[in-house]
């Protein structure tokens, strides 16, 4: 008789355990408030991307189109996977000293892994991480960007 009793009690406990699982999913079905989907394209305006999110490296330009990069190439050396290429031209300033001026700040977004070691290594704090994330492209060449705006020149350091 005990086997028969165990047979039916196992069936009963099986049903009870299945029912608790079903009750849980039915609770979530019947309470639409618990849905936590953020509809990405529609909520584009109210989307909260934290300020610290590392989306893209950007050369900071102030209002009169000046940046702080002195082409010292510290960031290029600390970058673990060589995504930054800096070319500079040497120029004669008025008192005869040779001075390096930034020509092109090439940044390959397709190779960058957003580890932010370049920002830590930059002595002039000329670059920062922006939290934009929409970079998908159809062509790989569009990912290689020139960060210094055309016609921008070095910030005159006397002010600081």
């Amino acid at each position: 008789m005990k086997a028969l009793f165990r047979y039916f009690s196992s069936i009963f406990s099986a049903f009870k355990s299945l029912w608790t699982g079903m009750r849980l999913t039915f609770y979530y079905l019947s309470h639409p408030k618990t849905i936590l989907t953020q509809q990405y394209p529609e909520n584009r305006k109210t989307l909260y991307i934290p300020e610290a999110f590392k989306g893209e490296v950007v050369l900071i330009h102030d209002e009169n189109n000046e940046h702080g990069c002195t082409a010292c190439r510290m960031c290029e050396m600390t970058c673990p996977n060589g995504t930054i290429k800096i070319t500079s031209i040497t120029e004669e300033t008025e008192d005869g000293k040779k001075k390096k001026i930034l020509d092109e700040w090439i940044y390959n977004l397709g190779m960058c892994t957003f580890c932010a070691q370049c920002i830590e290594a930059c002595p002039q704090n000329a670059i920062k991480m922006q939290n934009t994330f929409e970079h998908s492209v159809y062509d790989r060449k569009e990912l290689i960007k020139k960060l210094n705006h055309p016609g921008s020149k070095l910030k005159s350091t006397k002010k600081i």
């Binding site: 299945l18 849980l24 590392k54 600390t78 673990p80 957003f114």
Partner: protein, 375 residues
Amino acid sequence: MEIPKQLIPLEDTPGEFVINVGPQHPSTHGVLHLRIKLDGEKILEIEPHLGYIHRGIEKISESLGYRQSIYLTSRMDYLSAHMNNQACSLLVEKGLQIEVPDRAKAIRILMVELQRLASHQLWWGSAGLDMGAVSPFFFAFREREQILEIFEETCGTRLTMNYITPGGVMNDLHPDFVKKVKALIKQFKVNIHEYDKLLTGNIIFQKRTQNVGFLPRDLAISLGASGPVARASGISCDIRKLHPYDGYEKLDFSEIVMDKGDSFTRYLVRIEEMKQSMHIIDQLIDNIPEGDYRARVKGIIRLPEGEYYQRVETARGELGVFVVSDGNKTPYRIKYRTPNFSNLGALQYIAKDSKIGDLVAIMATLDLIIPDIDR
């Protein structure tokens, strides 16, 4: 591109039937390739083939500086990114005898325990998914997304954080870090009972995992298994207890050791570990010491000559970083002793003459991360 030899099926000896649980398979969570010899549904022999995600991180680290190769480690076991970075940072700090400020230590433990919670939640979701229940996957991601948002605000990225560096942490905590963590813990304490209702209590799940895939204690030791897999077979090998680091000795938390050793016990050990992690976070979240979050470290790190070994308890077991340094700025040789590599060895012994359904159940509770195996 010719097809690698392993993919061309061997001529099947009569009665035996070799299938490739191939590189692209939903239940291998990555690119593990198992060649399984079957007799009907029963598994006779399993032969793992690795290398489909072997990126040669150890060879790359030999030509990168210490600070640069640390961030590569979070690409190995991406579900314990903080612990990987912590292992290398501790090793560099032991080499250069740097004293880490208390605030940095507390932040590190908080981040590591949050990462362990997030990793166990994703494991629980994908274990349910492997057994065929689709809904647990979405319940698991509910809390995991909140943890990722907390990481995002402080460390800047969601998954492969480059946050713990030699000397402390990259930047200070976000102002409402404490508020969000408290809200998360309060909510997850309630929701963890849902985990029990959905899977632990479910009779089908219990039948699928109980008495399946026994890992006896001495086999687990001889295989070098570590983490929840070993603790489910009765070995107490929690590095946070054996060789405490970063202030773990001051915290009181219990090490979960059960000794039945089947898939269901491995499942229960991880559920209990989630509760322990929450217990640790509760103790620390209210009294994070003040002070600066990072000690001064030179730009170029040069470890004095010699061999260093640093062990850390990741979500999957004991990660050991073994560095041979000859004094200049790049390490001479780095060896990452990863937990999944040894836990994979256990798969061949556990899953012998079980069914294909059991193989999926065993792999779900072994919780293997394949880039951690191939490095």
